[in-house]
């Protein structure tokens, strides 16, 4: 029973649904209702909303609306009671019917959740879908059972039409007798009925069983057949499906992108861990950026300004410019051309300036960017390379293993220590380990874990050191001692193995220059001295005397030890550990400057010089680190230092400052960019150096060696900027003059500070040294030389020739090169090259030849002003408005246009409002008149009634009268 009911319901719902749909579709216009509005002007392609209207319909609508609004209001006028519709969502038009239902249902549910029903856990509610409960829907009945229903030929229990017609209706006696003679009795009839129904039932049963058998048979057969058929179908499908899926994929892409555009990004994914490649790439990009900035700084302000002014020129406006709707051609025009790939040939920057619509944004969204793909390609190739490398690694490791295998037997801990001792290799080795775990899994994991633990411990120690100095000191002390003792035990075979490894890795990873560092680190770790730690710990504890402490800390050690000690010192005062550490480190910077100063002052022996330079070499990176931590104060310190040194030098201008001044120029070139056009440190130091070269007297080994050092520094300073340093070039000229064979009779022009006929020929080689074996470089011992020997003369000459050539190359494209270097060539001509060692002489000859050749092909183009491009005639171009409104207000200013717009709007609204009011009034009037008519009619009716009754009464009265 329930089933049937449900069915009916569902049909209803569908019907309603369909009806609504059809109603929407049905909206057919009655041609008599349509009124066609006459068009005054026909505009092509214009779509007008108002070309036809339905006056009747719209009027009816309007009236209906008024009835609903004004009418109800009128009805309620002067009434105190109000009728309120509390049905949920009845009045709001925003809710659709379904939503309304949902809301009501929710309200219902809420109502059920009152106190009484708290413990009724949803047994009484029945979820329905189109009137059917879910259980009903989800009853997975045997489909066969439905057969019964489908047989709906007969509705009444399967009785035949004839029988029914006879039996139920029209079974009157009359018809019966008319149609069938000698008919059966009622009893016969009933019997026939029963028999017939029994028979049908049996037939039905039989048929049913047959179909069942058949289906089962078919099923079994199908199961057999299935593998054959299915396969074929699959393949057929796959070909098609492929195409389809491709198409779909495209669609997917499209969809995906569309969705991306449509929806905002919910959240940004945090930066994933960058792999080494990416890091390297970023680093490279950063360096490139910095390099670009550096180059920009290299140019003078003038040039920068020139560049800028080119970019931003004031747009010319003629005095007769009438602001009419013509846009003048842009000042800077360029030909927009594209290459084969469709990329504009103009540089990107320019495009950006001109905002060419086609210009591709540099990094837009990753869709139009082709570079990504390339990168991916690169990545892939890189990956391949990596794989290759890793394979190589494996191979090499395998070979290593073979080596190691015989040593494995020694002990595990040895390996352990080895890894600790060269920490720099760790990462590389870790990688190796991972790639080749398979053959030595038994040892390696342990090793790794230990190796990882160690640095951690160290780090911890550094942190804790602040808090518990003394305790930790001892621990660290022990630690270092252990290390050293371990290493000592292992002896030399260990080292050789290490070396092998390092060599291999060096060749593979191409970090040749790191080797030195590694070695040094290894060394330093071995021999870290215990006292250092204590000193470091209390380095900044006492207010004064840090400088002495630093000296104490560093003196009497090898450069490597000093470096490691300093490293520890800096590490233990890392700015991240404490706020004050930054100040402390800047102080340390000053003390280190002082230390270097002390180190380089009073160098008497060659060994001292070498040692000083070795130490400086080791300490220089720390200067860089420290100056990075606080740029301002380190700059201040260096500036102060320069000032002091300059003051000292000014006292004795003729004397070349000693190494304790010159070394700082080198330091500055390490710390600061020397190529900047103007820089707070490098510019003064360059001025200082040029002054040294112009004012000092160069007449002995002391001054000449230092002068050459300064010249080399100047060369280094200007290597990037290729700046002209007249004094350096002049100094080289002086050196050549000193080594040239000048006689009083045959003088040659010299430039101060070198003087004609005074201390000339002090570098002139008088003996035949062609057999001498002299290396070309100047050496540390030259700084301590007291007398000029042949060796020194030769080296001075060859070095200055080398430097000269480099300076010469700076000015290859400048005409003045001739004036700068011709005197040098003349002087070299005066030098008897035969006396010099063959190597030096050859080199000098080569350089001279090179310079001569360079000067000979030199051409002189008169200086001209930069050619100005002829200006194109100004052409008028149509003023293209992005959004064409066609209104005259386009000419007006913004405010005017706005006010105009508001005025028109106001007018329109006013008009509309007036009309509305008028119509409301008429509606009200009509309603009132209708009411009036209605009430009149009622009154008339009543009057008529009264008259009627009265007349009836009168009539009766008259009747009575007449009857009387």
């Amino acid at each position: 029973m329930a089933k049937v009911k449900n069915k009916r319901n569902s049909g209803l719902a569908d019907k309603v649904h369909n009806k609504k749909k059809s109603e929407i579709n049905k909206k057919k216009l009655n041609p008599f209702e349509v009124h066609i509005n006459r068009e005054k002007l026909k505009v092509l392609g214009k779509k007008s909303k108002h070309d036809r209207g339905l006056p009747g319909v719209s009027r009816a609508k309007a009236i209906q609306k008024r009835k609903e609004t004004l009418g109800t209001e009128m009805k309620l006028m002067n009434k105190t009671n109000a009728f309120i519709d509390r049905r949920i969502g009845e009045k709001s038009t925003q809710l659709s019917a379904e939503e309304r239902m949902v809301a009501r249902f929710a309200a219902e549910r809420v109502k059920q959740h009152n106190k009484k029903n708290i413990y009724n856990l949803a047994d009484d509610e029945v979820l329905t879908h189109r009137g059917q409960t879910l259980e009903q829907i989800e009853k997975f009945d045997d489909p066969r059972s439905d057969d019964e229903e489908d047989e709906d030929g007969r509705k009444f229990g399967g009785l035949g039409d004839e029988f029914v017609a006879d039996g139920h209706f029209g079974g009157g006696m009359l018809s019966k007798t008319d149609s069938k003679d000698g008919a059966k009795s009622h009893k016969d009839l009933i019997e026939q009925l029963i028999a017939e129904s029994k028979k049908r039932k049996a037939e039905k049963q039989k048929e049913k069983e047959q179909t069942l058998d058949l289906t089962e048979k078919l099923d079994s057969e199908w199961k057999d057949l299935q593998p054959v058929v299915f396969k074929k179908m699959r393949t057929e499908e796959s070909a098609i499906e492929k195409l389809l899926s491709q198409a779909e994929k495209k669609n997917m892409d499209y969809d995906k992108m569309m969705r991306e555009l449509k929806f905002e990004k919910r959240g940004t994914p945090s930066d994933g861990l960058k792999n080494d490649e990416k890091q390297a790439k970023e680093e490279r990009a950063r360096l490139e950026q910095l390099e670009k900035e550096r180059e920009l700084r290299m140019m003078g302000e003038e040039e920068q300004i020139a560049v800028k002014s080119k970019q931003a020129k004031v747009k010319h406006r003629s005095a007769e410019d009438l602001d009419d709707n013509f846009e003048l051609d842009d000042e800077h025009d360029f030909m927009l051309a594209y290459d084969k790939d469709g990329k504009p040939l103009v540089p990107e920057k320019v495009l950006k300036d001109f905002s060419v619509p086609n210009a591709k944004p540099k990094f837009d969204d990753g869709i139009s960017d082709t570079s990504d793909e390339e990168d991916e390609g690169n990545d892939e190739s890189d990956d391949e390379v990596n794989q290759d490398q890793s394979q190589n690694d494996n191979e090499s490791d395998a070979s290593n293993k073979s080596e190691e295998s015989n040593k494995k037997s020694k002990s595990k801990d040895k390996n352990n220590v080895k890894l600790v001792s060269n920490k720099n290799d760790e990462s590389a080795e870790d990688d190796d380990d991972e790639s080749s775990d398979d053959d030595s899994t038994d040892i390696k994991p342990e090793v790794k874990s230990k190796a990882k633990e160690k640095p951690k411990e160290n780090g911890k120690k550094v942190e804790e050191k602040k808090a518990k100095k003394t305790e930790e000191d001892t621990i660290l002390f022990q630690n270092s001692k252990e290390d050293s003792s371990d290493d000592d035990e292992e002896g030399s075979d260990e080292e050789s193995e290490e070396d092998d490894e390092e060599e291999e890795e060096g060749s593979e990873i191409d970090l040749n220059n790191l080797n030195d560092l590694k070695e040094s680190d290894a060394e330093s770790d071995e021999e870290q001295e215990p006292e250092d730690v204590e000193k470091i710990g209390s380095f900044f504890d006492v207010d004064d005397g840090e400088g002495d402490k630093l000296k104490e800390l560093l003196t009497g050690k090898t450069p490597a030890q000093q470096s490691s000690a300093l490293q520890n010192l800096i590490k233990s005062y890392d700015p991240s550990l404490s706020e004050k550490n930054k100040d402390k480190l800047t102080k340390l910077f000053a003390y280190m400057l002082q230390y270097i100063n002390d180190l380089f002052s009073d160098l008497k022996e060659e060994s001292d010089v070498i040692k000083a330079f070795l130490v400086f070499d080791r300490l220089a990176p720390y200067f860089y680190d420290l100056s990075q931590t606080n740029k301002v104060s380190s700059k201040k310190y260096i500036a102060e230092l320069l000032k002091e040194k300059y003051g000292q030098y000014k006292k004795r201008q003729k004397r070349v400052p000693d190494m304790d001044t010159l070394i700082f120029f080198k330091l500055i070139s390490l710390l600061y960019p020397t190529s900047d056009f103007r820089h707070p440190i490098t510019t003064p130091s360059m001025i200082f150096m040029t002054e040294i070269l112009t004012t000092c007297r160069f007449n002995d080994a002391y001054s000449i060696s230092r002068g050459l050092f300064v010249t080399t520094l100047l060369l280094e300073y200007t290597i990037l900027s290729k700046r002209l340093v007249p004094s350096a070039i002049n100094f080289l000229r002086g050196i050549l003059y000193l080594s040239a064979n000048v006689t009083v009779l045959n003088p040659i022009q010299v430039v101060p500070p070198f003087r004609l006929h005074k201390d000339s020929k002090i570098l002139n080689l008088e003996e035949d040294c062609s057999k001498m074996d002299v290396e070309g470089k100047m050496a540390a011992r030259d700084f301590t030389l007291t007398e000029i020997n042949n060796d020194f003369k030769i080296r001075c000459f060859s070095t200055s020739m080398g430097i000269l050539k480099e300076f010469f190359d700076y000015f290859n494209d400048i005409e003045a090169q001739v004036y700068l270097f011709e005197p040098h060539l003349k002087l070299v001509g005066r030098i008897d090259l035969d006396l010099y060692p063959a190597k030096v002489a050859n080199r000098a000859n080569q350089i001279v030849k090179y310079m001569r050749a360079g000067l000979e092909v030199k051409t002189f183009t008169p200086l001209t002003r930069e050619k100005k491009r002829p200006k194109a005639l100004r052409l008028y171009e149509p003023d293209i408005q992005e959004v064409f409104t066609g209104s005259k207000s386009a000419k007006l200013s913004r405010e005017q246009a706005e006010s105009q717009r508001l005025k028109t709007k106001y007018k329109k609204e006013m008009k509309g409002a007036l009309r509305e009011i008028r119509r409301d009034k008429s509606y009200i009037g009509s309603v009132k008149i209708r009411q009036k008519i209605h009430s009149d009619n009622i009154r008339k009716e009543k009057v008529k009634q009264i008259y009627k009754e009265a007349s009836v009464q009168q009539g009766e009265l008259n009747k009575l009268k007449r009857m009387k």
Partner: protein, 494 residues
């Protein structure tokens, strides 16, 4: 040691001497002590100075000489006479001290002598009402200063503070003119003489008496007098007299062989050019000397140039090949001389004439810029400024920096540096490539944009920068990541 120890004694002795005549032996002792001392006379000198200044002020040395009266033999008079003797003795001692001992004491001796001279001038030994200047003392001082053996440049320089007094100037010139005459003085003597004359002329002697007339009133108030006192008659300063004496002094000096020694020569020229030229009655007479000096070359000709310029400008002297000589002076050696600034300044004046031929000016421009290539930054700046002036004054030179026609590429520079004649050096066909090259220099363009900051070390350090740029690559050791050169040419660590 001796100088430090007796200091308190001196103070005591001074007070004793001044208080009581009985203690006058102190004075004799002090004078004796000059003998003992060898090096540092300063305390002695100061003592003597104080004593005698006081005595002079008190008038104890004043001797009333009454005519027709026998000399007074009273102890008073005797004491006075003794004091005067002491005074004279002290004077000679002091003058001796100028020559001896350490420099500070020498200077102190000079100052003391002058102070005593001043005191004497203010309180003359003989009573007189008019202005009195002890020119004898001055003469003595001058005699010492004009030592034929020792160079007195330091004391003479110190003496400058006294020559600023008008009376010293006038009397000094007078005295100098009287003692100047000597046949063959030594070069040291000549130098001393020239220096002294130079110092005497430090204060400008007004040349135009007419102009002087108007300003006389206010100037007279400012006049500084060494020996002037308010109650006495004012000192009759006469510029004409001064000039006459100065002329006479120079007249003597002219006869000496000034041009033999280069130092004397330079000094003489400097004196002539700086001080004397406007004062000389007949400057033409110096022409010969100047011309000879001009040919001498080097710094001497640079100095002579100024004199010649003066002659040419003021005295209508026509000098042949003036500009070629000037041209020849621009050599690299000029940077070593002290007078390079002067030369540049003079060249600027010389070349300021707009009537000069273009080729000549062009040659100068070319040469100057060529020199700027080898000059130190500050010299280069001066030279470039000069070139800029030339370019501004002579518009035709514009072609040297921006050639109008389409430039033809030349195989070499048409300008001939070695050519001595400026006009035939064909500089006009050339361009100032040197200036272009200097654009690349660090200091020069900076200096041109802000000449007052002329790229000096201090100015550069003081300049404020918005950012402090650092190298972006951490150095590994002492090799610069961006192009190491020191290690390439120096083997420092082996």
């Amino acid at each position: 040691m001796a100088a430090v120890q007796p200091n308190p004694n001196f103070a005591k002795m001074i007070s004793a001497q001044l208080r009581n005549k009985a203690n006058h032996n102190n004075l004799a002792d002090i004078l004796e002590m000059f003998e003992a001392e060898t090096d540092n006379y300063t305390p002695l000198l100061l003592t003597v100075e104080v004593i005698f200044t006081k005595l002079l002020r008190r008038g104890e040395l004043l001797e009333g000489i009454v005519p027709l009266k026998p000399a007074d033999n009273s102890p008073e008079a005797q004491y006075k006479r003794w004091l005067r003797e002491c005074f004279e003795a002290a004077q000679t001692r002091i003058l001796e001290c100028i020559r001896r001992g350490r420099m500070s004491s020498r200077l102190q001796a000079l100052v003391t002598a002058c102070k005593l001279m001043q005191a004497e001038g203010k309180h003359p030994l003989e009573g007189s009402s008019g202005f009195y200047f002890p020119s004898v003392r001055l003469k003595n001082i001058f005699n010492v200063l004009l030592d034929p053996e020792i160079s007195m440049s330091a004391p003479i320089a110190r003496f400058q503070e006294f020559t600023e007094y008008k009376d010293v100037q006038q009397y000094g010139l007078k005295v100098l003119s009287t003692i100047a005459y000597r046949k063959s003085p030594t070069s040291v003597y000549m130098q001393n003489y020239l220096e002294l004359l130079d110092k005497l002329l430090v204060c400008e002697i007004p040349t135009e008496t007419k102009i002087k007339g108007k300003e006389r009133d206010d100037e007279e108030k400012e006049e500084k007098l060494l020996c002037g006192t308010e109650d006495k008659a004012p000192f009759p300063y006469n510029p004409g007299v001064c000039r006459r004496y100065a002329n006479r002094c120079w007249g003597f000096a002219c006869q000496w062989p000034l041009c033999h020694d280069s130092r004397t020569h330079r000094r003489a020229l400097l004196l002539l050019v700086e001080r004397l030229m406007p004062l000389l009655n007949r400057p033409h007479l110096a022409t010969d000397m100047l011309c000879d000096s001009l040919d001498a070359g080097g710094p001497i000709s640079m100095l002579a140039l100024q004199g010649v310029l003066e002659l040419v400008r003021r005295h209508n002297i026509d000098y042949p090949d003036m500009y070629d000589r000037l041209y020849a002076m621009f050599e690299p050696e000029m940077f070593a001389t002290r007078y390079k600034r002067r030369l540049m300044h003079l060249a600027d004046i010389f070349l300021s004439s707009t009537h000069l031929p273009e080729s000549l000016v062009a040659a100068f421009a070319k040469r100057l810029s060529r020199l700027a290539l080898v000059a130190s930054p500050e010299d280069a700046v001066g030279l470039l400024q000069l070139v800029a002036n030339l370019l501004l004054r002579h518009p035709a030179l514009k072609r040297m920096i921006c050639y109008e026609d389409t430039p033809a590429i030349m195989s070499n520079d048409p300008y001939v540096m070695e050519e001595t004649c400026a006009r035939s050096s064909r500089a006009l066909g050339s361009s100032l490539w040197e200036v272009w090259a200097l654009r690349a220099d660090r200091a020069a363009p900076l200096a041109l944009t802000a000449p007052d900051l002329a790229a000096s070390f201090d100015a550069e350090l003081k300049k404020r920068f918005k950012t402090i740029e650092m190298n972006f690559v951490r150095p590994q050791g002492m090799t610069t990541p961006s192009g190491e050169r020191v290690m390439q040419y120096w083997e420092l660590m082996a």
